[in-house]
Amino acid sequence: MIPISWYLLLSALLFAIGTAGALTRRNGISIFLSIELMLNAANLALVAYSRMWDARTGQLVVFFVLAVAAAEAAVGLALFIAIYRQRRTIDVNRLNLMRW
């Protein structure tokens, strides 16, 4: 039997790696990929807790997180397409219209 704490540590590790990626990358889509990684790490933690407490709640929340991630990916990618058409780049350092 593997103690659930191992799964939780793995989830924390993946989440930290995802955060580092989201903060460091310049490419908009790469940032988005890192965010998906973070969502996935949260899913892992939820399922681990669900196993620990023998409750289905965690699994059901993951179900909804999956659906929300799909919706977010669709809208985010559509936004990137629209941005690319206007500014010909998705390098986030150059998308600085809102800076003074």
């Binding site: 799964y7 993946l14 790696i17 990929l33 399922v47 669900s50 397409i81 998705i90």
Partner: protein
Amino acid sequence: METAIFLLFAFLAVASSLVVVAHKNPVYSTMGLVLTLSAVAVLFVLLGAPFLAVLQILIYAGAIVVLFLFVLMLLNITREEMPQSGQPVQRWTAILGAAIFFGLVGTLLWRVYHAANRGPLAPLSEQLVSLKALAGELFAEYLLPFEIVGLLLLVAVIAATVLARRPEDAENAGTAVGPVLTGTATTEPDPSGQNPDFGGGGR
């Protein structure tokens, strides 16, 4: 046996997540994400959620990431990112930040685990794994969130369709929304309503 599987797929997940955040080419990052999702799906099976594992591969790895790849190829963003000045400093700051963050989150989860731990794990119970029980609870207690998520997906579809439209298609659309969105609205609506073509605009 279970330990071996866990170690193997945990290592795979961490290695491919490093590829996701560190590789210069976004296409490689995407393939790394597919590998990470698959490894985590195996861990879901170990944790007694086989249905979720299949859903993860079906939806996440099989549709969402394909969408990412599609947009990457459409906009031709497969060039490597430009190296930026002062990059080593930024990379080491990121690694340090990630390590601190891992320490914080890890400690938090560890404390919660030990506070709530009620002894050794019980073996997998049927009511956790069974699909019928999951579906029963989903459609009984979680019916309202289920319907709201359906509405959310509808809104996402509409938003994505409108946002990714080409400007000329938006002007020619037979509805009032198009010209208003692109600021070319006149008092007479354009009678030629044609549907926006699929296959957006990629150069």
